[in-house]
């Protein structure tokens, strides 16, 4: 478990550095701390819910085993993302920069690619862990998928807000812009959303 934890911290720090480098060295160095913190905070906040869900679905996994499994999923995601960090760093450093609030350059493209990479790595890690659950714990395929899907849904639910609170991880370096605080916290975004859930809602129903 300790090894998983160390690998998770190192790998996520590497990926965090690469996505922050697109903005500035300040963001990159901050992300060395913030990205591992995001994953660990999510895992910690959801730990009880992971266990209760596992029990509800009828698995006899112990609390420590559940935490280990979840940590392994996060570790796998972090390692997969870290392996992509040279590519993301390259993209970040070579993207066409924003010139004003209207012309964002290639920032939306790079941001979209990162979101897609996180989704792909998440799916791969979950699939691998599901296979491991099938073999090691003899859970049925359906049960393993539901369990991991539930864990991921919980992680997204809490991790989304954690990411929102800890933002910015990447952004646009506009000329003359002031340095943002370490965490933006509940400061509103450009649509006025003050939490992850409001932001999602505003994305579905744009404010007038």
């Amino acid at each position: 478990m300790k090894r998983s934890l160390v690998v998770l911290i190192l790998a996520s720090a590497v990926y965090g550095f690469s996505i922050g480098a697109g903005h500035s060295w300040l963001y990159a160095t901050r992300n060395l701390l913030k990205f591992p913190l995001l994953l660990l905070c999510t895992a910690l906040v959801c730990s009880l819910a992971y266990f209760v869900l596992a029990r509800f679905l009828g698995t006899m996994l112990s609390f420590s085993r559940v935490q280990r499994l979840v940590l392994e999923v996060f570790r796998d995601v972090a390692v997969l993302l870290a392996s992509l960090s040279p590519a993301t760093l390259f993209l970040a450093l070579t993207m066409r920069p924003a010139t004003s609030n209207e012309d964002l350059g290639e920032y939306p493209f790079v941001q979209g690619i990162n979101v897609a990479l996180i989704a792909v790595c998440g799916c791969l890690a979950v699939r691998r862990q599901a296979a491991s659950l099938l073999v090691e714990h003899r859970l049925g395929r359906g049960l393993a998928n539901v369990l991991l899907g539930g864990w991921m849904a919980l992680s997204l639910f809490a991790g989304g807000q954690a990411a929102w609170y800890m933002r910015p991880f990447f952004g646009i370096a506009l000329p003359g812009a002031t340095t943002p605080p370490f965490f933006l916290g509940t400061s509103p975004d450009f649509r006025g959303a003050r939490s992850f859930y409001e932001a999602v809602y505003n994305l579905v129903v744009p404010p007038r």
Binding site: C41, A49, V52, L53, R55, G58, M60, R194, Y197
Partner: protein
């Protein structure tokens, strides 16, 4: 093969007692009996048995296998042990579903089960309530347990009227599965709720209190889902299946009362 027969004999010694074991050792016929017992075990495990000719299934009793223990009612000492090991509440209410159903159906010591379910409904709902506000620590327990207790008389009367042969304790234990399971889910969600409370603006359109309502709703719905799979998945409460409509109607009433209760407690604005 010799070792295998020896193992069979030793096992028979355990299953059939000293007298049976003596007979087994003295005759080849009874050695075959031991082999058949082995055969029965392997058949249960769905693994092929080498060298074992099928023998007519006249030899009883078949020894209890591990799987049977999973459907035994909880013994009183097991229920009492949960007071010393609170994680056992999770096993009793959520994980060992078949045993919970068997305990509800069993006539032995239902009071202990009811007490465990009541305690679970109260204790595990407290942390979520405490996050809502220290003065509101008991609100979530009141929300789930209070609503169920308000609806319980209707369950008892309607079920008796419609011919379900369940005692008050059985009905109460059945009804308490909902708040107990919901409280356990609330316990799982309370760190998330605390985190959202700490990181979301209180005056925004969508505040942590609104998310808390969502989490409480999910907890209640999962509690109801747990009750339904207890009632309808297993065979122990088969008699209840004919009254599926009554139970679904009662759950609809419970949902409505819980919603009203949430309004009274100030959880829903």
């Amino acid at each position: 093969m010799a070792n295998w027969r020896m193992a069979g004999t030793t096992r028979c010694d355990r299953w059939f007692g000293q007298r049976g074991a003596a007979c087994l050792r003295s005759s080849q016929r009874l050695l075959d009996l031991a082999l058949q017992s082995e055969y029965t075990l392997h058949a249960k495990a769905k693994t092929p048995m080498p060298d074992a000719a099928p023998i007519p299934p006249a030899l009883t009793p078949v020894p209890p296998v591990a799987g049977d223990a999973a459907t035994q009612p909880f013994a009183t000492h097991e229920l009492q042990r949960s007071w010393r090991q609170p994680q056992r509440f999770l096993e009793i209410v959520l994980a060992e579903r078949a045993r919970l159903v068997a305990s509800i159906g069993s006539p032995v010591d239902r009071l202990a089960l009811v007490i465990v379910l009541l305690a679970c409904s109260i204790v595990f709902a407290l942390p979520f309530g405490a996050v809502l506000g220290l003065r509101r620590t008991g609100d979530v327990a009141m929300l789930f347990l209070g609503s169920v207790l308000i609806c319980f008389p209707s369950l008892q009367v309607f079920s008796s009227y419609l011919g379900m042969k369940l005692s008050i304790a059985q009905n109460l234990a059945t009804a308490l599965v909902v708040p107990a399971a919901s409280a356990l889910f609330c316990f799982g969600f309370f760190p998330i709720h605390w985190f959202l409370e700490a990181t979301m603006a209180k005056d925004s359109t969508l505040a942590a209190a609104d998310i808390a309502i969502g989490l409480l709703s999910i907890s209640l719905l999962l509690g109801l889902a747990h009750l339904n799979r207890c009632l309808f998945d297993g065979g122990a409460l088969r008699s209840l299946r004919s009254s599926r409509l009554l139970l679904l109607g009662w759950q609809a009433l419970l949902l409505f009362i819980t919603w009203r209760m949430a309004g009274v407690l100030g959880i829903v604005r």
